[in-house]
């Protein structure tokens, strides 16, 4: 069994912003059934002074503790950021905010930054 940090466990047992946004401005989907982790990130975007901010963000994830914790933490990191800044969030940022991830989980379950990018791209493609 891999060992998780306290922060990972906190986010796993008490995930923040879990749920679906019914009329989301953008949805990012990653993962597949075979690998076992499936992650959806939903965002609402607000425009203020010519800038676009992430006003609301939620997630739904089927997967291991690392998949759930990385989903939860990215909603906290990204909330209130401009979409340009939110797109810059990396896997490493997510892991760092969680007090580290076991190396084996770094690539298979640390999908939330990719899901967020896809949610933003989805928003941008709809709002060209």
């Amino acid at each position: 069994m891999v060992e998780y940090s306290k922060k990972v466990m906190d986010n796993f047992f008490r995930p923040k912003n879990m749920g679906e946004i019914k009329e989301a401005d953008g949805v990012g989907k990653v993962g597949n059934k075979v690998c076992g982790d499936i992650m959806y990130i939903y965002i609402k975007v607000e425009k203020k002074e010519n800038k676009e901010y992430i006003k609301e963000i939620k997630f739904k994830t089927l997967g291991c503790a690392a998949a759930i914790a990385t989903s939860s933490i990215i909603t906290e990191i990204a909330k209130g950021k401009t979409i340009e800044d939110a797109k810059k969030i990396t896997k490493e940022d997510v892991a760092e905010q969680l007090g580290g991830l076991p190396p084996i989980k770094m690539h298979c379950s640390n999908l939330s930054s990719e899901a967020l990018k896809r949610a933003i791209d989805d928003y941008l493609s709809k709002n060209k």
Partner: protein, 378 residues
């Protein structure tokens, strides 16, 4: 918080009786059984008495019993030991559902030029006996088949298997770590040539096991040293551990087996009431304490961690919890696709498990599964 241990297939506690039996051999009767003086002789006597008792338990009248450090060593000694001794036969048959220590020993021998046949199993985990018969050839040195599977609890028919092996002129080894004292084994009646057993699955200490070897068979030792155990396994004997092993063989009574069977059946019945579950392994020929269940749309590591958080200790065959990120080879052998095996959990009961424990687990597992399924985006 309530603590409910349901991982007895991983290991059991050392029972009080076993602990008490072992105790004098740490600081009172601490002699080396190889020593000539009375302290040594006393230790030797204890070891030999244990050897006799364990052999009696298995009706091993035509076998020698070699003490080892546990199941892994015994399985290595059986397979490699026999292979080194018989270099002219370079074919070994095993199954796809063996414990890693058998599979990886065979894989290692494959690299040394051996041909290994991995027999398939049906959806309940039973070895295909026709395939076994067909695959045995002149060069087949050994057939190694696990008696009761550690993940799904399916119990093989060793008697039929040994008949096939012996008719075709090959040797049978079986890993009985999970079944020993839970399923009756008679090595004469079932005609088993080599048998692996260990102590820590039956309320004995960790780090002790044994290999039964038919008298006329020879295995090459893995350790070379001071000629202990007739030269088959050198190293000062783990006297306290061996004595504990000897006591542990009486820990699980027929009544305990009935008790665990009843609770196992109750738990399986109640798990089946949850939507989208699958019970893995045979329902008929199954270890009295094994429950292996797959929950659709929930992941095993998450389930086990939530259970742990509620004081329930179980294990999972999910890829996400393994260090290799591969799902259980046993579950794939019985036909579960990788995408379907993620939500697999094994509960293994002990003689201490109560009906209230099962009720508590069922209540909690239902909550956990619905919590995790709510998070599923699909």
């Amino acid at each position: 918080m309530k603590k409910i241990y349901l991982d007895y297939a991983a290991t059991t506690p050392v029972s009080e009786k076993v602990y008490e039996k072992m105790n004098p051999f740490f600081s009172d009767c601490y002699g080396n059984p190889s020593s000539l003086h009375s302290q040594g002789r006393k230790a030797k006597e204890a070891v030999e008495k244990t050897r006799k008792n364990i052999k009696n338990k298995l009706n091993a009248k035509k076998h020698k019993l070699v003490f080892t450090s546990g199941g892994t060593e015994s399985n290595n000694l059986a397979i490699k030991g026999l292979a080194y001794k018989n270099p002219s036969k370079k074919h070994i048959i095993t199954t796809k559902i063996e414990h890693d220590c058998v599979l990886n020993t065979c894989k290692w021998l494959e690299k040394q030029g051996y041909e290994i046949t991995y027999l398939s199993v049906d959806e309940e985990g039973f070895v295909n006996l026709e395939e076994l018969e067909k695959k045995i050839k002149k060069e087949t040195l050994l057939v190694s088949i696990i008696h009761a599977n550690n993940e799904i609890g399916t119990i093989q028919d060793l008697k039929k298997i040994s008949q096939i092996c012996h008719q075709k002129g090959t040797i049978l080894h079986s890993d009985a770590c999970q079944s020993f004292t839970k399923v009756p084994i008679d090595v004469i009646e079932e005609d088993i040539d080599l048998l692996t057993i260990n102590a820590h699955k039956i309320y004995g200490p960790k780090g002790v096991g044994a290999l039964l070897i038919k008298d006329y068979l020879n295995v090459e030792p893995l350790f070379h040293g001071g000629h202990h155990e007739e030269g088959i396994r050198s190293g000062t004997l783990n006297v306290s551990g061996i004595v504990g092993f000897g006591e542990a063989i009486n820990e699980i009574s027929l009544k305990d087996i009935e008790h665990m069977t009843k609770l196992r059946n109750k738990m399986i019945k109640e798990l089946k009431n949850i939507k989208d579950v699958r019970i893995n392994g045979s329902l008929e020929k199954r270890l009295c304490n094994n429950i292996n269940v797959t929950f659709k749309d929930a992941e095993g590591e998450s389930i086990v961690l939530h259970l742990d958080n509620r004081g329930i200790f179980a294990s999972t065959g999910s890829a996400c919890s393994s260090n290799t990120l591969k799902s259980s080879h046993v579950l794939s052998a019985i036909g579960l696709k990788q995408e379907d095996s993620h939500g697999s959990v094994r509960f293994s009961l002990g003689k201490e498990t109560t009906e209230e424990d099962i009720d508590y687990v069922i209540t909690n597992i239902k909550e956990i599964i619905s919590l995790l399924r709510e998070m599923n985006p699909l």
